[in-house]
Amino acid sequence: MSFSGIIRTDVLVIGGGAAGLAAAAAAADVGVRVVLVESERLGGILCRCIHDGFGLTAYGESLTGPEYASREIVKLEGRRNVDIIIGTVTSLSSALSAEVVSEGGCFEVRARAVVLATGSRERAFGSLDIGGTRPAGIFTAGAAQRIVNEDGMSVGRRIVILGSGDIGLIMARRFTLEGAKVEAVLEIAPRPGGLARNVAQCLGDFRIPLELSTTVAEVYGYPRIEGVVAAKVDEDRRIIPGTERRIACDALVLSVGLIPIVNLLPGAAVDPATGGAEVDSRFMTTAAGVFSCGNALHINDLADNVSAEGAAAGRSAALFAIGRLEEADTVTVTAGENVASVVPRRIAVGEEATVWVRLKKSLVGTLAFRDADGYNVKDKKGAMAPNEMIAVTLAPSQTTRPLTVSAEET
C-alpha cells in the first residue's frame, strides 16, 4: 500500500536515536502532535552499542545500549499524539516542510517546529592523509560496530585501530572478546581521544598496546589489506622519518572523529568550532522553529547527556509550535582562553541554562564564566581534559550579561 500527500503536525522530530526519542517524548508531554521519522531502527546508534555504561545519570544504573534504547522507546508507546514513521527525510525547507521517503510512500510533512536529531557521521578514510593502496578491509569504527554487533559478521582477525576515540576503544574490546587480535591502537595526538574509563577497561584489561603520537602513513595490500605502515609524529603531527614500521593486519579500523550531520539544516548558521548548528539556550538554531540536539548539534561523550538535550529541545519545539515559547533577548557566550567550543552560543536573558564546554588542552584549574568587566559570574574547579565534555548550569541571575568562558590553569 502506498501513501502520498501531506501530513500536518505540530512538531517533526528527525532521527530516532537517543536525542530524537527524548525530544519526541518531551514534545508529546507538552500535549502537541508529534511525528518522528527514523531511517532504520528506533534507538539509532544505541542498537549497535551492546556494551554497558548507559543510563548512569538518567536511570542510576549501568545499562547496555539496547536496554537504554528500549527504556526510551517505551516512553513513546501508546501515545495517541505521537506517530512514528520509518523513512528518510530527504529535504527540509525553511518553511518547515519536509519530504519523507519511505517504503510506504513519498510524502510531505508540514510542521510548526522541527527538531533535528540526525546524529553524526564518522570521519572517513578518504579525508585522511594516508597513502597506499585502496583495498577492502578498511572500516570506520561505527561501521565495524554495526557489522559485528548488529549483523553478527566479522571485519577481520588481526586488526589495527587508528584513533583512540571512544568507539574505537570499545571496538578494540569487542574484537578481542570475539576472538580477534587487536595488534595496536594508534593515536596521532599525544593523549588518548576517548574517556579514561574506556582506555582502562577496553585496552588495559586486555593489554592492547596504545601507541600515542603515532599514525598510519600508508596502507598496503590489494585487493584486501595486508598491513599498515605506522610512524611516529612530531608536535605538528608530521611523520618523523625513520620511525616507520610495518604492522601486518587484515583490517584497519578508523576512530578519528565524529562530525555533526547538518545537511538538512535549512540555511541556518553552523558553528565552525563544533560543526553543528549554532543554537540558543532553547536549542533553537538561527532558522526560526528549527531546533537541534544531540550529536547533530555537537559531539557528546554520554548518551544520557544526549537524552537530556533532546528532551530540552523537544520541549522548546513543542512550546514554539503552539506559540508559547516567548521571544527573549539573548546574551552571548564566547569561547575564551583554552576553550575549543561552547554550546549554546546565545542564552535567553534571565533563564536557567546549561552550557557545554570542550577544552583545547588538559589542565587542572578553573573554568570561569566572566562578564565584560572580568567579574567571575560562575566557575567550576578541578581536573579537565578535552576528551570529556564539561557541563555547567547557570542560574537565571547569572544569564543577564554577555559572558566569556575560559579555562585558567592553577
Binding site: S2, T90, V101, C106, G131, S154, G179, A217, Y222, P223
Partner: protein, 467 residues
C-alpha cells in the same frame, strides 16, 4: 568453442565504445575483460573532462580524434542517457612565459579546428571563476570543453552494446593467443578459450602485453595520476587547467557533474597497471593547485584515487591493424582518450567496411534515480516499487531499488554499485551504507555476505565467518 567475427579485448570506455559501434553492422561481437565488470581501469579513474582539443600536437591521431570526439560528445551522451555538462574550460597563465605559451596554445587549437578559443584577461577570468589565485595573469578560454561521468558512459556503452547483441565475457584474462584456420584463438588465465576472425586490442594498461601475445612488437609505458576529491561545493564552475610547460602539464581543478570537484592528476611513472597513492602526493597536489586557485578548502576533502594510463613511446595513440591484418590495436590511449572515444570507436568500426545491420538501437536509458527527481517523480517511483522508498545511501539519496537494478545491469561488487550509482561516494564514504550494500548484493547475487567483494576478485569486504 564460440567463434565471433570480432573479439574486443578490454572493457574500458574504448573497448565498450568499439563493441557498441560494431553492433551497428552485420557482425558477431564479443568483448572479453579480465575483471568482473567493465570500467575497472583508467576509464573509472580520470579527470572526467571532455577536452576541447587545443593541446594535442597538430597532425596527430590525438588531435584528430580529440576534436572530433569533443564535437560528438553531447549527442553521444544524449543517446546513452549519460550526464554531459558544457562548461567550457580555462587554462591559466601565471607568469610572462606562460602568457606567451597561451597564444601558442591558441594558435595550435585553431589549427586543430577548435572553435571559439580566446585569451581573456585576469579580470574576465575572475568573473568566470572567482576563486582563481592571485598569480593568474590571463587565461585561455575554451567554450567547447565539457564535463561528463566516464563511468556511467562506460556502463551505458556496455548496456547498449549488449542490447544490440554483443556478448560480454568477464573473468577472461587473455594470457595466450594462437592462430588456427584463419582465426585467432584467445586463451584466458582462467581456462577459457574464444575464437575470433579479428581481435581488437583495447586492453588499456595491458595493451602492450596483449599486442605482443598477438605478434605486434609494441611496448607501452605506464603513468599514474593521483587525484583528490572534495565534497559538494561550488568552488569552481569549469575545469581549470594550468599552462603546460617544461615541468609537465600541471594539475587541474575540475568540477564533476555531481557537484563535487577534484584536483589532479600528478604524473608518476609506474611499472604496473595499478599504483598506490603516494603519501607525498597530498602535499604535491595541494601546492600545485594553489598555483591556479586560492582558498582550496582542505577540510572538505572526502576521497582520493589513482588512475594508470598506458602511453605509447611515440606520444600518440596507436590505432590501426597489425601487419597480419587479423589484429587491430587501439592502445596507448592516454589523455584525451575519454574525449576521443566516440570518434575512435566510430573510425575503427567503419574501417572494416561492413554492411549495416537494420534494427540497431542507439539509445539506452539509465537507471531511474531518486536523486535529482522531483517530489512527484519520487512519489511515482515509490508507488511503482516500494524499494525506491528504502533510502540506502543518505549522502547521495540512492534507494534499494536502484541498487537492485544496478546488479541486474551487471554490478557484481560494492564498487560496481558505487560506480553506477555514487553509493558511498558522498561525504560518509560508505560509513553508513556499505554493509547494507553488501547485504543487498549478497541477496541479489545469491551468495553469502562474506563472499561479497569490494573491488576485485578476492577483495572480500568482510572476514570469512565469526571473527
Amino acid at each position: 568453442m564460440d567463434c565471433y567475427d570480432f573479439c574486443i579485448v578490454g572493457g574500458g570506455v574504448i573497448g565498450c565504445a568499439v563493441a557498441r559501434e560494431l553492433t551497428r553492422y552485420k557482425a558477431s561481437v564479443a568483448l572479453v575483460e579480465s575483471a568482473c565488470d567493465v570500467c575497472a581501469g583508467a576509464s573509472g579513474a580520470n579527470s572526467a573532462v571532455v577536452h576541447s582539443g587545443y593541446d594535442p600536437v597538430p597532425g596527430t591521431l590525438m588531435s584528430k580524434y580529440n576534436v572530433l570526439g569533443s564535437s560528438m560528445f553531447r549527442s553521444y551522451c544524449a543517446a546513452l542517457d549519460v550526464p554531459y555538462k558544457l562548461t567550457g574550460s580555462l587554462t591559466v597563465a601565471t607568469c610572462a612565459e606562460e602568457v606567451t605559451a597561451l597564444s601558442r596554445l591558441l594558435s595550435r587549437g585553431v589549427g586543430n579546428g577548435v572553435a571559439g578559443l580566446e585569451i581573456i584577461s585576469r579580470r574576465e577570468a575572475l568573473e568566470l571563476e572567482p576563486n582563481l589565485s592571485d598569480k593568474v595573469l590571463a587565461a585561455l578560454y575554451a567554450p567547447t570543453a565539457a564535463i561528463t561521468d566516464p563511468m556511467e558512459l562506460t556502463f551505458a556503452l556496455r548496456e547498449n552494446a549488449e542490447a544490440n547483441g554483443a556478448c560480454f565475457r568477464f573473468g577472461f584474462t587473455v594470457c595466450a593467443a594462437r592462430r588456427e584456420d584463419g582465426r585467432v584463438i584467445l586463451r584466458s588465465e582462467e581456462g577459457g578459450e574464444l575464437a575470433a576472425k579479428t581481435v581488437i586490442n583495447c586492453a588499456g594498461s595491458g595493451g602492450g602485453d596483449v599486442a605482443r601475445m598477438l605478434g605486434s612488437l609494441v611496448y607501452l609505458t605506464h603513468r599514474g595520476g593521483e587525484y583528490l576529491v572534495f565534497d559538494k561545493l561550488p568552488f569552481v564552475r569549469r575545469p581549470i587547467f594550468q599552462t603546460p610547460g617544461p615541468m609537465g602539464k600541471g594539475v587541474l581543478v575540475a568540477p564533476t557533474v555531481y557537484g563535487k570537484f577534484m584536483v589532479g592528476p600528478t604524473a608518476v611513472d609506474c611499472v604496473s597497471s595499478s599504483m598506490p597513492f603516494r603519501s607525498e602526493a597530498f602535499g604535491e597536489l595541494l601546492s600545485a593547485a594553489a598555483k591556479s586557485v586560492r582558498g582550496l578548502p582542505a577540510g572538505k576533502r572526502i576521497a582520493k584515487f589513482t588512475g594508470v594510463r598506458a602511453l605509447s613511446q611515440t606520444g600518440d595513440f596507436i590505432i590501426g591493424p597489425s601487419r597480419r591484418g587479423d589484429v587491430y590495436n587501439v592502445i596507448g590511449i592516454g589523455s584525451p582518450g575519454l574525449t576521443a572515444a566516440p570518434a575512435i570507436a566510430s573510425a575503427v568500426a567503419r574501417s572494416f567496411a561492413l554492411e549495416r545491420r537494420p534494427g540497431f538501437s542507439p539509445s539506452r536509458r539509465g537507471i531511474k534515480r531518486m536523486a535529482g527527481a522531483s517530489h512527484a517523480e519520487r512519489a511515482a517511483l515509490v508507488a511503482s516499487d516500494g524499494r525506491y522508498g528504502n533510502i540506502v545511501c543518505r549522502c547521495e539519496t540512492v534507494s534499494e531499488a536502484e541498487i537492485v537494478e544496478a546488479v541486474r545491469r551487471g554490478a557484481r561488487t560494492v564498487d560496481g554499485v558505487k560506480k553506477r550509482l555514487g553509493v558511498g561516494m558522498g561525504r560518509c564514504q560508505g560509513g553508513f551504507c556499505e554493509s547494507r550494500v553488501v547485504g543487498i548484493l549478497a541477496r541479489e547475487l545469491g551468495i553469502p555476505v562474506s563472499r561479497v567483494e569490494k573491488t576485485a576478485r578476492g577483495g572480500f569486504v568482510l572476514a570469512k565467518e565469526g571473527v
